[in-house]
Each structure stands twice: as structure tokens, then as C-alpha cells.
Amino acid sequence: MAANGNAPKPEADEVRGKVTRTENRALAVVKKVPLPWWALIVLVGATAAVSPYILMPSNLIHLVRQGVPGAILALGETFVILAGGFDLSIASTVSLIAAVASGEMAGKVGNIFPTVALSLSIAAAIGLINGLAVTKLKVPSFLTTLGMMIALQGAALVYTGGMPVGGFPEEFRALGVGRLLGVPYLIWILVIVIVLSQIFLKKTALGRSILSVGGNDLACHLMGIRVNRVRILTFVLSSVFAAVGTLLMVTTFRVWDSSMGKGMHFEAITMVIVGGAALGGGRGSAVTTILGWLVMTMLFTFLNLVGFPEAGRFIVEGVIILLAVAANREALMRVQ
């Protein structure tokens, strides 16, 4: 987008006259800000117009806190999409990890840390299997993670027997309701995760190689980047982020329930794409994903406020994805 912001050449300005120049400047400013930001500004404005109370800090904090698990899942999915893949298995990962966490904690404080460690290890193993199947067996990630999704659904049901198991100790659930400086722990955690992800993707060699692998894997290979390792890492990160999101999500639940995680894979992909990342890889960041998440959260808040029917949300979601991608494609074409 930055390329669009260049001021017009001086000669052109003299020909066009003063009025056009200011118009051009205004347009340049508009174009310089990526489209999702405008969408967010418009949505916040519209929401405030309908009900100013929703934008009071206490309400905003509540809104954001509810969306934290979804945001963390979307951040994990970002790594895979940036490297050119898909991860459909995160929805079932959520279900399995929630089941295991609930069952292993069994309401006891002493079990919290071992269970967290176990959950993260299971998730890392799932990501590793996904990554190995994609890179070594060359099964397209869409099919690998589809197979994994079905398998993990089964695994969650095997573990629980289809019934709620165990439970979470009060101390663990305190994480979900606790606050530091008036802001819930969950939001602090999200902020830390966003900052770390963004620094990792933009400032470290490994993180930047994720983007370049998504851009052109053969070129990366010729440059000496170990493409397969980078791809495997993205799948591991995606699953681990899904586990972290799940652990934060279950702080507000009492027990496991078989509908947990349903549809969260498509939700996460939507957020990543709406923020401006390119499907197929090479373009996007942690910040664009968070932007997509904010846009979707504000959109649904707005629809709730105006009394839009619950089922109609799907329709709006579908239309928004399509518009977002169409707009991004336009932006891409302008840069080129």
C-alpha cells in the first residue's frame, strides 16, 4: 500500500492546478491507510451512533476479553497461511485439548501446571504430525489437516466417552476473571502474544523466512532456507497457539462439552483473510490478523446491537469475506 502514497510529480501538479492537488493529497491519505482500518473506523462509528454506551471502557474490555481465544487461534492460523498452507485441524484441536485439560485437572490445583504442559505437548505433537505429513509425504495441507480434523474429533470423543469429564479448579478459573490494573489477565496475555508474534514475524530471520517461504518456496530453497523445517514450524505454532487459546477459553467454562471449537477453523481463516493476509502465502502479519479479528468482533457487536438475527450473521460473514478479499486484490493490483 505504501507505494500508493507517493505524492504526484511536481510537473503534473502545475498542470492540474491547486484544487486537484489537495484532492489528490486527501485521496493519498485515504489510500495510505489499509482498507480494514477504514472498515474498523466506520464500524466503531456506526456502533457508537447506535449506542454510545457500548464504547465505554468496561464494555469494551468485556467485548475484547470474550474474543481473546478466537484471536489467539487466528494468530496461530496466520503462521500457516503466511507460509502458503491451511490448517483446518485447529477446531478439533480445541475440542481435544479442552477435553484433556478438563479431565486431567479434575478440579485439583496441583494438576494445573502438569496439565498445561501436557496440553501444549499434545498440541505440539499434532502440529508436528501435520507438518511432517505436508512436507515429507507431500499430502496437500488442506487434506492433511482435514484428515487430522476428523481423527482428533474421534480422539476427543474417545478420551471423554462423549460425556463431560473432570472439571477446572477455581484457581484456574480465576485466570479467566482476574484483573491486573483493571484489565483482565486474558487481555494482557493477548497483547503479549501479539507483540511477540509481530516481532517474531518481522524482526527475526526465522519469522521472516515464514513469509518468504509463502512467497516462493523454491527461491527460498535456493537461498539456503530450510523450507520444510519452516513449514513444519508453522504447523507446530498453529497447534500450540490453538492449545493456548483453548486453555484461555476453558477458564470461563466449567466442563468440556462436545460442541467446543466447532467452526473455529473457518472463523480463524476468515479473520486472517479479512485483515489483509493473502491466501497462498507471502503477505500479512500478526497485526493484520488482529485487525481482521477487531473488524469481525465490531461487526458482530454492531449486528447484535441493531437486533440482526443470529443466523443472519453467517450471511454477513460470507459477504464480508468476499468483499475483503476483492478489496485486497484491488489493492495488490494497484501496487503492482
Binding site: 509425504l137 499430502v139 474417545v158 450471511i315 460470507g318
Partner: protein, 329 residues
């Protein structure tokens, strides 16, 4: 689709080897089907009974119909996530419009095919004209379809007539009518894909859109046609499902889009287009149906079935992808 003949006078063994190399996926799928059939039959004799074989064929029909359409999309280098929504919506619109009145069948058919073909047209036009990724496009139509369904229907709705029920339960001799319908659609699709210019264009488009375009293929028209065919088959599936259920159900099509993509790609059809056959699709559908049948006969729990199903999908695809050059993504 290798067309050049490297060795005009090659030995038979060489020809067989080359054929196997080109069709690893299809051969593997049918071998797994055969192995599953024989193993489960060895343990439980009921598997070999004619009634069970007919049951397997009968259970293939809904996944088979939708996968035939999905094959057109995938061969042309696209795919369709909206089929599940189309199926759910079709069952409701069809059963809801008919509502037990046989004089309403024609209107119901016009309505469901209108909606189905319109969805296909929207998918095709968006992908071909606006050049938006098929994943995004069909995810969007899937969500819109799901939303539209859930906005008007809260649960099962509608009623069919005995005439329509014949489609789901009727028999011609020992063979169910539905299986004959599937066979007819399969043969028609096979002829279209292998014997017509359009079929060749579908493969060309999947092989590479640029090269297809410069070779004179009307890529826009072919893309739209494959999506319309896919939605048409999804609508047919919806009517069949309604005839089986006797009513419409807003949740009946959930996840069938992913299952149909898996069925097409298990047996050697490339997810990225240009490579594969309808025989592969048939093998994939047969494999998934046979697995459930065998598991049920062996009294395997549904939960374990899910795990096995997921892993078998990955393993079966790996058999033909693992020797590919390049990087997996």
C-alpha cells in the same frame, strides 16, 4: 493425462509399470477397498452376503452424487465448499414446497434447481470474473447458504410424497433405484469428461489456466460450467437425501463438503487440478463407504472409526503424493 507415447513398441511389462506409475492413487484406493472387504468378510461372514453388498452400494449414493460434481470442480483447479449448504437448503425447500402434495413436485423441482444453479453461477462468476480464490468464494457462499437456511428453518421441516420416497427406498429387482440413478449420473459424467471437448477443456483448465487460455479454451465459460455442474449435483443429492429422510433438515449437509473433497482426492486426483479420473472418485467414495460398513460389522466404536477414517485419508493420499518432486504445502 500423459499423451505422448515414449515407447511405441515397449514391452507389456513396461506398459503395465507405466500405467501403475500414472495411476498409483486409483490402484491403491481399490486395493484398500478390496482389502477392507476381504478382511472384514473374513471376520464377519455377513459382509459377503448380497444384501450387505446392496447396502454398501445404497449408502454410496449421496456421497457419490455430490462427489461426481466435486470432481468437475477439482479437475478444473477449483473446489466447492458450498455443496453442504446447498444440500441442506435443497432438502428444506424441496420437502417444504412439496409438503405431501404430488401436484407441487414440479414447482419444487423448479425452485430447488433454480436456487442450486444460481449458487453455482455465483461461485463460477466470482471465481472466473472477479478472480477471487475458490476457497474464499465458496466459503462465502457456504456461510450465506447456511445463514439463509438457519434464518428460516429451526429444525426438520416439510414432507414428501410416496412417489418421491420411491427414489430413496424403491427397488428394481435386487438393485435399489438410487443406485441405478447414481450409475446413470456416473456414466454420463464419465462420457462428458473423457469423450467430449468440454471434458478435455476441464482438464486443460486444471493443468494451467494461462496455457489453457492461449490454447483457445474459453476459461471463463469452463470455470462457470464446472461450478454449475457441481451445484447441480449437490441439488440432486439434496433431493435424494430428502427422499430418504422424508423431510428437510437444516443440519444434514454439514461437513459433507469436506468429505466429498476427501473422496475425490483420496484416489489420485490432484487437489490442484488437471490430474485424476472419475474412476478415482468412485474408488474414494467406495473406500469411505466400505470403511464405515466394515467398522460397523466389526463392532468398532464410532469414536475409533473417526480416528481411523482421518488417518486413512492422509495415508491414502500420501501413497501417491510422497514421490512427487517439489515442496508440499
Amino acid at each position: 493425462m500423459r499423451t505422448e507415447n515414449l515407447t511405441p513398441n515397449g514391452s507389456l511389462w513396461f506398459k503395465i509399470k507405466r500405467w501403475l506409475g500414472n495411476n498409483t492413487g486409483v490402484v491403491t484406493a481399490y486395493l484398500i477397498v478390496l482389502a477392507t472387504f476381504l478382511t472384514s468378510g473374513g471376520i464377519s461372514r455377513d459382509v459377503f452376503k448380497l444384501t450387505n453388498i446392496i447396502t454398501i452400494l445404497h449408502h454410496m449414493v449421496s456421497l457419490g452424487l455430490v462427489s461426481i460434481g466435486q470432481t468437475f470442480c477439482i479437475l478444473s483447479g477449483s473446489f466447492d465448499l458450498s455443496v453442504g449448504s446447498v444440500i441442506s437448503l435443497t432438502t428444506l425447500l424441496f420437502a417444504g414446497t412439496v409438503f405431501g402434495r404430488s401436484e407441487m413436485i414440479l414447482q419444487a423441482l423448479a425452485l430447488v434447481f433454480g436456487v442450486g444453479l444460481f449458487t453455482g453461477l455465483v461461485n463460477g462468476l466470482t471465481i472466473a470474473k472477479a478472480r477471487i480464490n475458490p476457497f474464499i468464494t465458496t466459503l462465502a457462499t457456504m456461510l450465506v447458504g447456511q445463514g439463509a437456511t438457519l434464518m428460516y428453518y429451526y429444525g426438520p421441516y416439510g414432507n414428501i410424497t410416496p412417489g418421491i420416497k420411491y427414489l430413496g427406498y424403491g427397488m428394481v429387482g435386487p438393485v435399489p433405484v438410487a443406485v441405478l440413478v447414481l450409475a446413470a449420473f456416473f456414466s454420463a459424467a464419465l462420457i462428458v469428461l473423457t469423450k467430449t471437448r468440454f471434458g478435455l477443456h476441464v482438464y486443460a483448465l486444471g493443468g494451467g489456466i494461462q496455457s489453457a487460455r492461449v490454447s483457445g479454451v474459453n476459461t471463463t465459460r469452463v470455470r462457470i460450467a464446472t461450478h454449475v455442474i457441481c451445484s447441480f449435483m449437490a441439488t440432486c443429492t439434496g433431493i435424494y437425501v430428502a427422499s430418504r429422510l422424508g423431510t428437510g433438515d437444516p443440519y444434514v449437509g454439514i461437513d459433507i463438503e469436506l468429505e466429498s473433497i476427501a473422496a475425490v482426492c483420496i484416489a489420485g486426483t490432484s487437489l490442484f487440478g488437471g490430474r485424476g479420473t472419475l474412476w478415482g472418485t468412485l474408488g474414494g467414495v467406495l473406500l469411505l463407504t466400505m470403511l464405515s460398513n466394515a467398522f460397523n460389522h466389526l463392532n468398532v466404536e464410532t469414536t475409533i472409526q473417526l480416528i481411523a477414517r482421518g488417518l486413512i485419508i492422509i495415508a491414502a493420499v500420501a501413497v501417491y503424493t510422497m514421490r512427487r518432486k517439489g515442496f508440499g504445502c
